[in-house]
Every structure is written in C-alpha cells, then in structure tokens.
Amino acid sequence: MIPAAFDYIRAGSADDAFAQLQRLGGDARVLAGGQSLIPAMRFRLARPSVLVDINAIPELRTIRLDDQALALGAIARDSDVERASWITERKWRLLHDVSRVVADPVVRQLGTVVGSLCHNDPSGDWPAAALAARAVIVVRGKAGLRTVPIDQFLVDSFTTSVEEGEMAVAVRFPVPDDRTAGAYQKVERKVGDFATAAAAVQLSLNADGTVREAGIALSAAGPCAVRVAEAEAVLQGQKPTAELIRAAADAASKKSEPQGDLRGNIDYKKNLAGVLVSRGLRQALAHLGVQS
C-alpha cells in the first residue's frame, strides 16, 4: 500500500502555495495534515500528481479570536483547538466536544479543521459542526479572497466549492453570544472509526428563554453533512420543551439518508440520528441551565 508516485513541493509561504496551485491546476492537491489524504493515496483512492505541502507555513497555523469570529488557519490542528485556552468557555461547547472526538488523539496532532472541511467526508465531524455553528470558509481564488458560507461550501461527497487552482486558507466561526451552548453527539464502534451517526447542535437563547437561533446538523446521514433546517425551525422562537425536542429529533430522523453498512442498517441509523439530536439538545440546554 504505497501511494502512486507524485511530485512534492514544499510551499514557503501562503502566496507561494497559491501561486503553485494556480500554475498546476487540477493536477495538484494541497497537503495539510494529510490524515485523510495520505491513507486515501495509500489505498490509491486518490492519485494527485503533485502535492503542495503547506505544513511549513507558520502563518497558516494561526488561531485568531476577536469580537466577531474565531478564525482557524489552514493548518491549525485539531489538537490546537482541543488545547486552546478559550475552548472550555460555554459558548464554544460544540467545538470543544468535536475537538475531542475527531479520529483519535494522535491523528488530531496533525489533522486540521480546514482540511477536514475540504475533504468533506460524508462521516466527517467538522462539516456537521461547521453547519451547526454557521461557519464560513475563506477561499483564495484568482480574484482574491472570498468567504463562502458552509452551506454553499459543502457540495457533495468529497466535493466542495473550492475550484481548481484555489485554496481554502481559513475557516471562521462566528463568536456565539453568552447565552449560547452546543453539543456534539457521536456514536462510533471504536475510537478512530467513522461515525455510525453523529449530530451537532448549537442553541442561542433570548433572555426570556426562547430560542433565538438553533443550529442542527447531521454527519453520516447522506452524501455529505446535512443541516436539519426543519428541526431548527421547530425550535426557533420557542421555549424548548420535551415535545419540541422530540419534534426536532423526528425531523432529524426523517432528514437522515444514511447508507446501510456494517455499522448498522438504514432504519437503525435514521433512528439514531434523531436520538443524538435529542441528546445533543438536552445537553446544550443543560449547559445553559435549562431543564428539558
């Protein structure tokens, strides 16, 4: 299981990496953490003829948190998020939960958040989390930088809106307000396996306890991570009750379009998607001090 031969370019700066990608077009792939790409190359599921390695570009590893957004550079590692000082704050609970269950602890040392989004595996963790948190991806193209909302970024299995010669340089998560909490619920057969099912939720409440904004998304529930807008609408403007949570969970089960495999059949996975949304909502509400 040795990858097909390729040419290797170590980019010295973000400008250099972009110039190389522009020059090489569709033949080249960006090598960030490599924790999905390299196994895929070993299985010969991916055969890029050139890899542009961006790991030696410190400016791309930056994590910047200001009033507006948390920006993670293209090679900010999962473990950088896991160990960040702010990650224990309640409003970042969704990212906190995700950063602890991606792959396994050693893979998280190299694996990157932006790389996971660009890989867009149907069972990936970060795409669902990014949907629930309403992230935007910063993409560098011929015309300069543009921001792409996650809903438009995730196109299909292993496909994003990043075009040939372009490069995703960062992901930005809007800073949630103080009445926000989230949760990530994932069932996996063992650590490091692909999710059997997973649900990302994030809830922002108004002062009166009604839901100001709900973000609910599923992984391992179709060709790529999917937002359950129906479940979000059920909660919007309402005080969360057991009945509403059940309705949101039902909407998630309905929305889920999993593939049956060794991890479970379709009925089981559809049911599980609802169960995980329900658990996630209860957990987020518990973080916010609300009984449900």
């Binding site: 299981m1 040795i2 990858p3 097909a4 031969a5 390729f6 040419d7 290797y8 170590r10 090598l31 490599g34 924790q35 390299i38 196994p39 190359m41 070993r42 299985f43 890899l51 390695d53 790991n55 030696a56 792959a103 396994d104 602890p105 050693v106 893979v107 040392q109 190299l110 650590v191 490091g192």
Partner: protein, 160 residues
C-alpha cells in the same frame, strides 16, 4: 529528493522518492526497525514516533519529506547509556507487553502524553492511548505502566 531528518539526535540525510512514508524512511533508509508498521493507514498506532520533542505522529501517514528539517524520536531514542527510560522500565515492571508489536507506539504516544501532562489521570491515559491498539496484553497493564512512569519521572526531574 533529498530529505534530512535528525533521528534520536543523529542527522540522517537520504535521497528518497517523495512518496516514501516516514515509517519506511526510518525502517528501511535509517535501519531503525523499532518503529513498527501495523495497519499502514493510521488506525493502529504501532508506528507512532515523536516529532520535535513532544508531538506524537503516526509515521505511516506522514511523508518523510514532511519531516525534513525536523527532529524525530523513535523507540530507539528512549534508553540512555544502556539504562531503560522510565517508561520502558515501567512496561517491564507492570507486564505492559506480551508480543511487543504495539509497544513502540504505546511507548512513544505515552512519551508525548507525559510531555504535555506530566501527571495524567487514569482516564486521561486511556483517552490518549485510544488510537493505539493492543491485541494481546490488554490495556490495564499498559495503563498501570504509564502511571508508574509518570510517578518515576515526577520524582526525578533530571530524567524528564
């Protein structure tokens, strides 16, 4: 392409294909066969080595080219002057291995863990080793060994 990696303090410069994985660079080009290859695709943890002193990485899922200019510590770099590293001694004392195949990875993941968290709880040890599979010893003695090593290292700062 030319790749220069400092392995266990010794510089190794080799001419390799870009597709050479770090695990094979270490085993076949540097002759350091202590790093094992199990699943070959980042699931089992046999191939874990430590990069730049404190970062555990799966060397089957990293190209040697990515390690160019970096320092790598393998299991061969643990013992100093013939004396086992406290982690190795602890695996011996606590029967933390039977066949030994997973052991280099277990040791190197634990080594990096103790750099970040010198006094990990049992739960933290189990969590950190979740990406390292053992098919024979069982994990209890491995966890006991890491706890012993943490205590030994705490008691003798010089060995950190």
């Amino acid at each position: 392409m030319k790749v220069s990696v400092k392995v266990n303090g010794v510089a190794h410069e080799r001419d390799v294909e870009p597709r050479t994985l770090l695990a094979y660079f270490l085993r076949e080009h540097c002759g350091l066969t202590g790093t094992h290859v199990g699943c070959d695709t980042s699931s089992c943890g046999c191939c874990v080595v430590v990069m730049d002193g404190d970062t555990a990485v799966k060397s089957c899922s990293m190209f040697a080219a990515q390690a160019d200019g970096h320092e790598i510590t393998t299991v061969e770099g643990l013992a100093q002057g013939g004396a086992l590293h406290p982690l190795q001694q602890a695996f011996w004392d606590q029967h933390g291995l039977q066949c030994g195949y997973c052991t280099p990875g277990m040791l190197m993941t634990s080594y990096a863990l103790l750099k970040h968290k010198p006094t990990p709880t049992e739960a933290e040890i189990r969590e950190e080793l979740a990406g390292n599979l053992c098919r024979c010893t069982g994990y209890n003695n491995i966890v006991k060994a890491v706890r012993q090593a943490a205590e030994t290292l705490q008691g003798s700062p010089a060995q950190k």
